[in-house]
């Protein structure tokens, strides 16, 4: 099936759906729009009415979601509709069809009694809770599992805490599936951030050409042209890094995946910050949407534990090398 399809087509569809979603504040309406376009179950198997496509088809959807300030747990929904298919076809199908809204609490484990970084948990019917043994449980929101609002940084898809009152019962997802879900999340988050950053660049480049100062557009100033060129480099770097992360298999795959995520977590917000600077005072207003992009990218960086990821990648660099050319150097540690 995938041979006949082009991921670019999904990006075009997704962009149109994002525009429709932006016109409504109701989560239920957004859910319906996304589900109707088949965007929630792009990688889920056919057994749950998914499209059963490779991850590269979810990338343009997440990219468009980031660009469009979607305000929906799209990454979580795409991941869950696939990951739950083996454990419970029924619930996976309901997530895929938009019948229920599901999210993931990215920080903490259920055993602690409180978990966090659960995007739009206040609107969700189900929350995936990670467990200390590496597995997870998809628990229904209710008396035992209660979301609690926090001062969310992302204003479009605010996250929430989830408190547990008693044991978290629900559909168990095994550790191997959770591991795969987390690996795919890294790629989808990078795509989301790349889309958001690309939109910031586009907004800033347009503004720089419209805004006249001293009788010429801002874009006539080399210092601003070069700033925007560097932002374009950052966006292109993320984009090409994603292509590589999707194409790389085997021993190099983990590094390719982690690298593009960590690059996106660093460069994406920097592009938004740069765009705010291009706008001058207007950039610091609530009205200009750049802060919303900045907020959602920073929130994604937190969900994906980018700072921790940088630490562990550094450890990998210092402790593991398979370059045989330097194998003769004795290890003195």
């Amino acid at each position: 099936m995938a041979d006949d399809l082009d991921p670019q087509d999904f990006e075009n569809t997704a962009k149109a759906v994002m525009e429709a979603c932006a016109a409504t504040d109701a989560v239920s309406e957004r859910t319906a729009l996304l589900a109707e376009a088949g965007l929630l179950a792009v990688t889920a198997p056919e057994s749950v009415n998914g499209l059963d496509l490779p991850l590269e088809f979810a990338v343009p959807i997440c990219r468009a979601s980031g660009a469009g300030l979607l305000g929906y747990p799209i990454i979580e929904t795409i991941l869950l509709s696939k990951a739950l298919a083996a454990a419970d076809t029924g619930i996976a199908g309901r997530i895929a069809s938009g019948e229920v809204v599901a999210t993931i609490a990215w920080r903490g484990v259920a055993e602690d009694g409180v978990v966090g970084a659960a995007p739009m948990a206040m609107d969700a019917d189900l929350v995936l809770l990670f467990r200390a043994d590496g597995s997870a449980v998809l628990a229904p929101v209710g008396n035992a599992v209660k979301p609690e609002p926090v001062e969310a940084f992302d204003v479009d898809a605010p996250d929430a805490l989830v408190r547990l009152f008693g044991p978290a019962d629900g559909i168990v997802v095994d550790a191997a599936t959770v591991q795969e879900l987390k690996q795919e999340a890294i790629v989808l988050r990078a795509a989301y951030v790349q889309g958001s950053a690309a939109q910031c660049l586009s907004i800033a480049a347009d503004y720089a050409q419209e805004r006249m100062q001293f009788g010429k557009p801002l874009s006539a100033n080399q210092v601003l042209r070069h700033r925007l060129s560097r932002d374009a480099l950052a966006v292109e770097t993320m984009k090409n890094g994603l292509v590589r992360a999707l194409a790389t298999t085997g021993a190099e795959a983990a590094m390719a995946r982690d690298a593009v995520w960590l690059e996106a977590a660093k460069s994406g917000p920097a592009v938004a910050e740069s765009a705010i600077q291009v706008f001058g005072g207007m950039g610091f207003t609530w009205e200009v949407p750049l802060h919303r992009h900045l907020r959602q990218m920073r929130a994604q960086a937190a969900y994906g534990a980018a700072a921790d990821g940088l630490d562990s990648l550094a450890e990998r660099v210092l402790t593991t090398s398979d370059n045989g050319w330097y194998g003769e150097i004795p290890d003195g540690l």
């Binding site: 874009s219 006539a220 042209r225 292509v243 590589r244 550094a314 150097i329």
Partner: protein, 397 residues
């Protein structure tokens, strides 16, 4: 030095990947004196490096995409990429004849006549002809519209007068790819002609310029009534240069394809050497975030390179997008070079051989990397290209 001169067809085990073939060939042929991680061995002579580079071609690791009739291996950019990954991961020397292989060859294939193709191309791959690039002048660097070197048609052939500068490798080259002007300087980008000039022609004076790394590769080249045969003009006036600029945009994107993997190899070497001594490793640990950033940059650079290769294999145009990998690599590599220099400068005075080797290599990389944001279009030129040709930013009301 014994070199295994087996072509890719003969040497490859059935089912072997091109990368595996390249790796094995390098393991068999990259001798200690050629390795860039053995600072205190007697370094290879120019003659040995030339022999090694000729053997690289014979072994199927150079001229990979060139047509077989001109001495190439007739394979695709895919194999070229695979081989360059392995060349990059190895501590192999930079090419002596990269101008010949990465600039002249593609231009000759695009604009040369049959006699020029069959004459110039095999000689480049066999390392019989090393080429230099005679484009830049004291008044014309990135902006070649300011070019002043003149070519006049005479009864004896074309007569060349002028001066070139920053001509890498001119003192060891047999040929120069020369850009000269047949009209007036006011014609700017018009009236430019490409020549394949023999460097032993009477009237050529080469003066070496010592660069900041102590090397003497840079040269000034003076042309005083140098006569060039008509048959050594590449393409017609204007046509040759215009075609060459199109070729160059592709080449800029694909040349030195091994860079990302060489960058990775330098990090690998630094880490391996520091792990040989607890004191050095303690120093290295203080830079863990910067090293992680450098390693991430390596992966991002691979993404740039591989995406461009995919585009080229699909027959898509590259155009100004070649600026992205150049800009990204040169700046990321300089950042790494700076921290690597700082790390090795803190090594204890009684450091062992592994640390002394890596110290010498990183010091050399630190100095040579200063040129990386200058040559092949400065950082500022790359940023201008992106602003103008990718973002299409207007620069006037």
């Amino acid at each position: 030095m014994t070199l295994t001169a087996t072509g890719p067809d003969a040497a490859r085990t059935p089912g072997d990947s091109y990368a595996a073939h390249a790796r094995r060939w390098l393991q068999e042929n990259l001798t200690d004196n050629l390795r860039t991680d053995r600072a205190f061995d007697t370094p290879a002579t120019l003659r040995e490096r030339i022999r090694f580079e000729a053997a690289l071609h014979a072994g199927g690791l150079a001229g990979i995409t060139w047509p077989k009739e001109y001495g190439g291996h007739g394979l695709t950019l895919r194999e070229h990429l695979e081989a360059n990954r392995e060349i990059g991961l190895a501590p192999a020397p930079n090419a002596v004849n990269s101008i010949g292989k990465e600039l002249v060859g593609p231009i000759v294939m695009a604009v040369g006549d049959e006699r020029q193709k069959s004459g110039f191309l095999p000689a480049i791959l066999k390392m019989e002809d090393i080429w230099c690039q005679g484009f830049s002048e004291p008044g014309a660097g990135s902006d070649l519209a300011g070019l002043r070197t003149r070519a006049e048609r005479t009864a004896d052939g074309w007569k060349i007068n002028g001066q070139k500068i920053w001509t890498s490798g001119a003192s060891k080259s047999q040929r120069c790819l020369l850009l000269a002007r047949i009209g007036k300087p006011e014609d700017r980008h018009k009236g430019l002609v490409l020549f394949a000039v023999r460097m032993d022609s009477p009237g050529i004076d080469v003066r070496e310029i010592r660069s900041i790394d102590g090397d003497r590769s840079f040269c000034e080249v003076f042309f005083d009534d140098v006569i060039v045969d008509e048959e050594d003009m590449l393409g017609a006036p204007d046509e040759g240069w215009n075609t060459a600029t199109r070729v160059l945009s592709i080449e800029r994107a694909s040349n030195r394809m091994y860079r990302a993997w060489r960058f990775q190899s330098e990090i690998d070497h630094l880490v391996a050497a520091c792990r040989s001594d607890r004191r050095a490793f303690a120093i290295l640990r203080k830079y863990d975030a910067e090293l992680a950033a450098a390693r991430i940059a390596v992966e991002m650079l691979k993404g740039h390179v591989e995406t461009l290769v995919d585009h080229m294999l699909a027959g898509k145009s590259i155009g100004p997008r070649g600026s992205f990998p150049k800009l990204f690599w040169s700046e990321a590599h300089q950042r790494f070079a700076r921290i690597a220099f700082e790390i090795v400068s803190r090594f204890p005075p009684d450091a062992g051989q592994a640390l002394r080797d890596v110290k010498a290599r990183m010091e050399d990389i630190y100095l040579s990397s200063r040129a990386e944001t200058i040559y092949a279009g400065t950082t500022e030129i790359q940023l201008d290209i992106i602003a103008k040709r990718i973002l299409n930013l207007r620069n006037a009301a």
